[in-house]
């Protein structure tokens, strides 16, 4: 168990949905999006999660990060040597325990500057209580300067010097290109104090050059910041080049787990997902 950061045990999740039966009547039906799912996510590694649309991948991420409540089961997260349950906690509490999340659609703050997008993500939230900035103005300013320096260092470490995000630090994040917004969303994770990051399709819809940058950033998270990465990915080239492990999800269950080569070479994966 020491080799794993996340232990998902018999998790179930179902939704109620209306169906029309053969007689044309509306019936309620429980639709199981996740069914008795077990998975161990290795510590300090990159683990890919692949599977078709509707397999339940994003729902699983939502359960891990607290945005969705599981019907039953257990999600245990290892931090400081011991496992603690994440189920039942609110998303912000799960984040504070050390689980970061990047969503499929970036979720950056478009009406805020690039720098503010970084600074709001700082794990140290000094000055965010309403009147602290009025009473402790100088101290708050010191913290703000430190945050800006931290953001600058992250930009430089990840993207070199000069880099486009630093140059556009005072521009609205909404004015960045889609690829740059994805990179900003990923870069922002380094402002937090995370042990595990969940990345939902980080390379979706971006050009090959940006995919390379994103892959480098993900490697940086693991190799330099000792984070564990659990990512949903549809680009098999990225999975083969980047991931240490790969899990295949189908109909709400993990049906294959191993090295990316093994899983992508799996007969069921090739037939049902890759269409080969």
């Amino acid at each position: 168990m020491d080799d794993f950061i996340l232990h998902i045990n018999s998790v179930n999740k179902s939704f109620a949905r209306n169906i029309i039966n053969l007689r044309g009547e509306v019936e309620d039906e429980r639709y199981r999006i996740i069914e008795d799912l077990d998975l161990l996510v290795p510590d300090g590694k990159i683990t890919a999660l692949i599977g078709g649309n509707g397999a339940g991948k994003t729902s699983l991420f939502n359960i891990i990060s607290g945005f969705m409540k599981a019907d039953s089961g257990e999600v245990l997260f290892r931090n400081d040597g011991s496992f603690a349950s994440l189920l039942g906690l609110n998303p912000e509490k799960i984040t504070l325990k050390g689980v970061g999340r990047m969503f499929q659609d970036s979720h950056i703050f478009p009406d805020m500057s690039v720098m503010d997008n970084m600074m709001i993500a700082d794990s140290d939230n000094y000055g965010e209580a309403p009147f602290v900035s009025l009473i402790q103005f100088k101290r708050t300013k010191k913290f703000e300067i430190a945050r800006a320096e931290k953001a600058n260092k992250i930009f430089t470490d990840l993207l070199g010097n000069p880099n486009p995000l630093w140059e556009k630090r005072n521009e609205l994040a909404g004015s960045l290109s889609y690829g740059q917004q994805r990179i900003l969303g990923l870069t922002r994770l380094l402002m937090g104090d995370y042990k595990l990051v969940l990345l939902d399709e980080p390379t979706a819809g971006v050009n090959p050059e940006t995919i390379k940058q994103i892959m480098n950033i993900i490697r940086f998270l693991v190799e330099n910041k000792r984070m564990s990465v659990f990512l949903i990915e549809h680009n098999m080239k990225v999975v083969l080049e980047l991931a240490d492990f790969c899990s295949f999800m189908s109909h709400g269950k993990i049906t294959a787990f191993g090295t990316p080569e093994d899983v992508i070479g799996n007969k069921e994966v090739r037939q049902t997902y890759l269409g080969l």
Binding site: N90, F109, P110, M112, I120, A121, E128, A129, L134, G192
Partner: protein
């Protein structure tokens, strides 16, 4: 000259109202129709502080801010669990409830008869603040103080989180911030400081009744914020000046009194429609209402 000073005092009162409302509407994207109720609560608490407790100026200010903030806290917790249109309806319901209480609790508020002869505020417990010039100075100092405090709040890490909530609540949650807690703070701070506007109004006019704090007034405050623009300090201040000066300018056009009042409503309505089409962020705002 007295007329100009009177207009300046009213502008100062509305600057406080719009700057405070902007924290909710422009920073946190919480469209509230209940801010006139807190304006009224501030006014009635002032009467209580002056006639029952005989407090000096500074104590009245603190009493009104804390009292209004505490009452708003009771409303904030259930209301802020609602989102979007449901939150607007909850604040509308609250506005109507407070108005009904003020109107019908005759034993305390004197209901529709209002409370006349409100005593003057006392500086250091001795010097009466009455007359146009003292009120101009008092209202200007308090408006400047509110503008200063809210400017600092907007440009602080606290304000940054509020802007984050305005842009994308889910992202703020995923960064480990308790969104509900921030919304409650915003509601309570905004409402608490709105109480000051009620205090100035009650002691300046020396008479209050519930009709000064009804739904029309709530819509008027919101219209001022939207016309001026949200998300910064400049917009709400310009909005306050605009909505007070426009009807005064209409006086010089020469409309009969019966038409002038209706013209005021038409001008506000038209301004809002034109702005929503051509400048949704208002005259000087930085945030387009969603």
């Amino acid at each position: 000259m007295n007329y100009v000073i009177h207009i300046l005092i009213i502008i100062n009162i509305y600057i406080i109202l719009t700057v405070c409302t902007n924290l909710l509407v422009g920073l946190t994207n919480l469209l509230s129709l209940g801010q006139a109720a807190f304006y009224g609560i501030g006014a009635y608490l002032t009467v209580l502080a002056l006639t029952v407790f005989h407090l000096p100026l500074i104590a009245v200010i603190l009493f009104v801010i804390i009292g209004t903030a505490l009452i708003s806290l009771l409303i904030a917790y259930p209301s802020l669990r609602l989102k979007g249109d449901y939150f607007i309806l909850a604040t509308l319901g609250f506005q109507l409830i407070i108005y009904t209480i003020l109107y019908n609790w005759v034993a305390v508020t004197r209901g529709p008869y209002g409370i006349p002869g409100i005593p003057a505020l006392k500086l250091f417990g001795m010097v009466d603040i009455s007359g146009l010039y003292p009120f101009l100075i008092l209202s200007a100092i308090l408006a400047l103080l509110v503008v200063f405090i809210f400017y600092r709040l907007i440009h602080s890490p606290f304000g940054r989180v509020l802007k984050g909530i305005r842009d994308d609540e889910i992202a703020v949650l995923s960064l480990g911030r308790n969104v509900t807690k921030f919304k409650i703070w915003t509601f309570v701070i905004s409402s608490g400081f709105i109480g000051i506007a009620g205090m100035i109004y009650a002691t300046y006019v020396t008479y209050i009744d519930p009709t000064s704090f009804n739904l029309d007034e709530a819509i008027f405050i919101l219209a001022a914020v939207l016309i001026g623009g949200t998300g910064n300090i400049r917009g709400p201040v310009i909005g306050a000046v605009f909505v007070i000066l426009v009807p005064e300018l209409l006086r010089f056009v020469g409309f009969p009194d019966s038409i002038a009042a209706n013209m005021r409503q038409i001008v506000y309505g038209l301004t809002l429609v034109v702005l929503m089409y051509f400048r949704p962020q208002g005259i000087a705002g930085e945030f387009k209402l969603q």
